[in-house]
């Protein structure tokens, strides 16, 4: 158990205030139910997502460095980001500031113009919501807290791209037993299995949903998402568990689009892993924001007496 993660700085990011609001809601609710404290970063800014790096990666580094500087100023040594994009960009900034003098120079220059202290690498560790729950509560801790087991619910765990790639920005991964794997991540599988779920073998757990071009190249995204959905169904899953708002919204949107444009209907439901964990911990559906999902899982949840 990692005590230092019991009270961490929280970086929700833009998506969690918009389309991914259910992820924000369920993350906070699960934290509260588990006795973990989140303190939102004061006056945070957008991380630049997948777009600003295409103007110049060094600008993305600055945007994330500003958020890390805020966490440091607030006295935190750990910042937790549930969004894969935010998490990835904070990790990337940490890596670039430690290894690329050019990025450091741009960060110092822009921080000076913006009127705040420039962030230096090594001061604040970035973790994902999965690390946060896995390292503080863990499987054994979850098992004793489960009030409403997910027993019998067949789940495909989908991690997407930004949680594991590229490998070099995640130095704590691939360190053997107990650490996360970049080739075959398992933290979400571990947590949901501890909550009683039956996690199916899902070969596409780190495949791409086309999220970066979800609107600019919708046909490609629909093809990629349809492949994720039909494969999950072929693997026997009733639910795809997600841990990224871009993936989650992409899966939901393109499930509808595949039906409307390609005439391909799939019925697998899409839920955030925090929504599933929350219901296992006895929280109501409303409390974890199931009504905010585009993918309507209510019939399935009622049949399984969840939430």
């Amino acid at each position: 158990m990692t005590e230092s993660y019991r009270r961490v700085a929280y970086y929700p990011g833009c998506a969690l205030e918009g389309t991914g609001h259910a992820y924000d809601r369920s993350t906070r609710a699960v934290g509260k139910a588990l006795g973990l404290e989140l303190v939102e970063l004061d006056n945070w800014n957008c991380c630049g997502a997948m777009e600003v790096k295409n103007v110049d990666p060094k600008l993305q580094t600055y945007l994330s460095a500003r958020n890390l500087a805020i966490a440091e100023k607030m006295g935190f040594s750990t910042v937790m980001a549930p969004c894969n994009g935010c998490y990835h960009n904070l990790k990337k900034a940490e890596y670039d500031l430690a290894n690329d003098p050019g990025s450091t120079a741009v960060n110092e220059r822009l921080s000076a113009k913006a009127g705040h202290a420039a962030y230096r690498s090594g001061k604040v560790a970035t973790i994902h919501a999965l690390d946060w729950i896995k390292q503080t509560i863990g499987e054994e801790g979850l098992k004793v807290r489960v009030k409403n087991s997910l027993a019998g619910l067949r789940i495909a765990n989908y991690y997407g791209c930004m949680y594991t790639r590229p490998r070099h920005i995640f130095p704590e991964k691939d360190k053997g037993t107990g650490s996360e794997s970049t080739a075959k991540p398992h933290f979400m599988d571990d947590l949901l299995a501890a909550a009683g779920a039956e996690c199916v073998e899902y070969p596409l757990k780190t495949a791409c949903c086309g999220g970066a071009h979800t609107l600019s190249d919708s046909d490609t995204s629909t093809k990629l998402v349809l492949n994720l959905l039909t494969t999950a169904e072929a693997c026997g899953a009733e639910v795809i568990a997600t841990e990224c708002p871009t993936c989650h919204t992409g899966l939901e949107m393109h499930q509808v689009r595949a039906e409307k444009v390609l005439g391909k209907k799939t019925s697998v439901k899409i839920l955030y892993f925090t929504q599933l964990l929350g219901m296992a911990l006895g929280l109501s559906r409303r409390r974890v924001g199931v009504q905010e999902n585009l993918s309507d899982a209510s019939a399935l949840l009622t049949a399984r007496r969840l939430g």
Partner: protein
């Protein structure tokens, strides 16, 4: 063994003799298929250097053509013509006219980073794809792609306010690219949302659209970023030996 990257063999380059006997051996039909030899003379010797000068392209010189990028590529799996290894090969040899045959699909890289994960030489092929798409656009070979329009809309909002509002990004992107908002699948999405969402949440979404979320004390960062972006754009144009951009009034 299957022929790897078979998509690179173009039908118009193949010659097959229906009836042919060579040194007494009958090689009629498919047995005599071969690729016509060709001579290339119009190399662009500056192409690698120019793409390497754009953000993301810096590592292109390290490529040793192992093909891990193409082998792992998400887009290649649905369109074999999307071939990062081949494009890097063409760029490094300066075979501009060959690269231009694929100019309209380079922007489709989805940034999944599978190539960057697999690359043994730290080329950052994902960045090279972005730099190449950028190069094609700067040279005037392609119009700004839908992805470039999306990046521009998104980045402008971030630079101006430190934050984005998703509804605004979507609406402005559709306007910029001349698409209608009443596409059947989008309408179905919104109808589904409105049917199930509580009124309070809908009001909150509406409020975010009117009162744009913004970071406080952002003006210094904004000025710094905008100045940096201007310098960057000027440097990119210099690297490609293009005339400086007209400054907007």
């Amino acid at each position: 063994m299957p022929i790897h990257e078979k998509s690179l063999i173009r039908k118009e380059d193949l010659v097959t003799h229906e009836r042919l006997t060579l040194e007494g051996v009958d090689v009629s039909g498919d047995w005599s298929t071969f690729i016509q030899p060709r001579v290339l003379t119009n190399y662009n010797e500056r192409m690698e250097q120019e793409i390497a000068a754009l953000p993301g392209g810096e590592g292109i010189h390290r490529c040793w053509q192992c093909g891990s990028c193409t082998n792992s590529c998400t887009v290649n799996a649905i369109n074999p013509d999307f071939n990062p290894r081949y494009w890097i090969y063409l760029i490094r040899l300066g075979m501009e006219s060959e690269l231009l045959r694929d100019k309209d699909i380079v922007w489709q890289c989805v940034s999944c980073n599978k190539c960057t994960y697999a690359c043994p030489r730290d080329v950052n092929p994902e960045g090279v794809m972005k730099a190449t798409a950028h190069w094609l656009e700067l040279k005037g070979y392609t119009k700004p792609s839908p992805a470039a329009e999306f990046d521009a809309e998104f980045s402008e909002q971030v630079f101006a306010t430190g934050r984005i509002e998703e509804g605004r990004v979507l609406r402005n992107f559709f306007t910029r690219t001349g698409q209608k908002l009443n596409q059947p699948w989008l309408v179905a999405l919104v109808q589904g949302l409105v049917r199930r969402l509580p009124l309070g949440y809908l009001l909150r979404l509406g409020q975010a659209a009117v009162l744009r979320p913004r970071a406080r004390r952002w003006s210094g960062a904004r000025a710094g970023i905008e100045e940096y972006v201007r310098e960057r754009r000027a440097a990119d144009r210099r690297a490609l030996a293009l005339a400086p951009e007209e400054t907007e009034p």
